[in-house]
């Protein structure tokens, strides 16, 4: 069984690799030999590689990345700091759930990105507006996932701790927190994607630096290879973060890994 499982995994990896490599080579070959390359419309992998080397490895893009990640980290940290306590409170007190549930659900389900122009007009072009946007988008997954985690805590375990003379502190530290943590990490993965949307929209809309600004500037000036290189960087970062969260999720709660909600 394990041998077969291993074989299946290698086959999968190999097929994936083959498909990516053949896609890239046929892209390169088609634009080199079959169709004439219109540099204002398309580009090819070899040119992207050159731009990638120049922008990323030699570091022209690092400044933009640093600017974006600073805004992202501020907004995301505040979302964690606000979202987890609010979610825990909603999970712990039934009346709090009743009061906030409708309002937060309405905000979570609606495209709050629509507020982006207003936020930028109010807070100005820069760190504050982008962080506010990231916060606004990524706080709700934390709230609702913490809420679900606290709500799903095993009552029996709480009673066991109480029976053995555990204090309120023990309840929180030894039962509620460990059982909520996997939910929070799952929420963090969703929040990550939404936070990235916030950064990108903020920087597309009005910015003078940052990765989103770099992409839209390269687009405006028809520098397609650089644009693709910047998109590639963002893709790599997003995949690393998302897959990292997914690994963490599996590590923290192996029994939940079967339910894969993306």
């Amino acid at each position: 069984m394990t041998v077969k499982g291993n074989y299946e995994e290698y086959r999968r990896l190999l097929l994936g690799l083959v498909s990516v490599i053949s896609f890239i080579t046929s892209w390169e070959l088609l634009l080199t030999y079959v169709f004439p390359l219109n540099p204002f419309f398309l580009t090819k992998p070899s040119l992207i590689a050159v731009a990638f080397n120049e922008q990323v490895i030699q570091g022209a893009l690092w400044r933009d990345l640093a600017v974006s990640s600073r805004a992202f980290l501020w907004g995301f940290s505040f979302a964690v700091l606000v979202g987890i306590p609010v979610g825990a409170f909603m999970g712990w007190r039934r009346r709090a759930e009743y009061t906030f549930d409708a309002f937060f659900t309405a905000l979570y389900a609606s495209p709050l990105v629509a507020l982006a122009p207003l936020i930028i007009v109010v807070f100005g072009v820069g760190l504050l507006a982008k962080s506010a946007l990231v916060f606004l988008l990524s706080v709700f997954p934390f709230i609702f996932n913490t809420f679900a985690g606290v709500r799903s805590t095993d009552r029996l375990m709480l009673n066991v701790v109480r029976s053995f003379g555990g204090k309120e502190k023990d309840l929180y530290l030894k039962v509620i927190f460990p059982s909520t943590l996997p939910y929070i990490v799952a929420g963090a993965r969703i929040a990550l994607g939404r936070g990235l949307v916030g950064i990108i929209v903020g920087e597309f809309y009005a910015a003078s630096e940052g990765i989103g600004f770099a992409i839209s500037r390269f687009g405006d000036t028809y520098r397609l290879p650089e644009m693709f290189a910047a998109i590639l960087v963002l893709m790599i970062a997003a995949v690393i973060m998302t897959e990292g969260m997914r690994k963490l999720e599996v590590f923290l709660a192996p029994w939940r890994s079967a339910q894969d909600t993306r």
Partner: protein, 266 residues
């Protein structure tokens, strides 16, 4: 008194939920009457009644209808295209392991990245007209649909598939009898997520390089400090996505009562 308490307790969930929202609106409405706002802030401040007024004015001037029509067309075309592409691809990757392995890297990467980064590229390719927005809606909505269809097909009961196959069904009949009915709840869940992404695509797509649509209305109102018009647009988007997601959610709950609800995702 006792009856009043019972009445309250039975409907506590709704009463508290709606009460809180009404309280917030009321506080919002009365704030400028209670305190005088500093001049800088009052420029950005509006009240629900002014938002309603602005909404009425825009309806009378026939502006909302036009912008709404443009946005709706983009939304429907993009989402329709996503369904037309996402469902078949999801079905195929769910049934064939080889094709799944070959498509999976792209799906993983594109699903992890916010697809809005392709907006400048799409504007370059499809122009600033309707089609760049349709494409951004499409690329946003297609992945949730594809992934959920894939999951639904893959989770089809092996035993049932084998039974049908033993009775001599071909691949198409297996699809029709077992796989498709099994994956409907998954597809509906994917559709709910896809609607959210599609609305996001319409909003952000119209922020940039557009001359009509509700997103454009919001963006141009914000730059002209017409905060009430901004909130008219935001409220329309909020209302629409709430109505759409919640009604799909209702269908979903009806179809999959047995699956325990995990956490809210939009």
């Amino acid at each position: 008194m006792n009856r009043l308490v019972r009445f309250y307790l039975e409907r506590e969930h709704y009463l508290l939920g709606w009460g809180f929202i009404l309280l917030l609106l009321l506080a919002w409405e009365t704030t400028p009457h209670l305190v005088t706002l500093p001049k800088g802030l009052s420029l950005f401040f509006t009240t629900p009644s002014k938002v309603l007024e602005a909404f009425y004015d825009l309806v009378v001037q026939n502006q909302i209808q036009h912008h709404f029509y443009v946005s709706a067309i983009e939304f429907l075309l993009g989402l329709g295209l996503a369904i037309v592409v996402g469902l078949p691809v999801g079905l195929i990757t769910g049934r064939s392991r080889t094709i799944d392995a070959m498509v999976d890297p792209y799906v993983t990467v594109f699903n992890a990245t916010p697809r809005l980064i392709f907006l400048p590229l799409f504007i370059l390719w499809f122009g600033i007209g309707m089609w760049s927005k349709v494409m951004i809606v499409f690329i946003g909505a297609v992945f949730p649909l594809l992934i959920n269809t894939h999951e639904g097909v893959k989770n089809a009961d092996r035993v049932l598939v084998n039974v049908v196959r033993s009775f001599g069904a071909n691949e198409w009949q297996i699809m029709k009898v077992v796989v498709l009915p099994n994956s409907v709840p998954y597809i509906i869940a994917g559709l709910r997520l896809a609607i959210g992404r599609a609305v996001l695509g319409v909003v952000v797509g119209e922020f940039f390089g557009a001359s009509e649509g509700l997103g454009f209305m919001i963006a141009s109102a914000a730059t002209n400090y017409k905060v009430d018009v901004v909130f008219v647009g935001v409220a329309i988007f909020m209302g629409l996505s709430l109505i759409l997601t919640l009604s799909v959610k209702r269908i979903e709950n009806k179809l999959s009562r047995w699956r325990p609800e995990e956490t809210k995702t939009f």
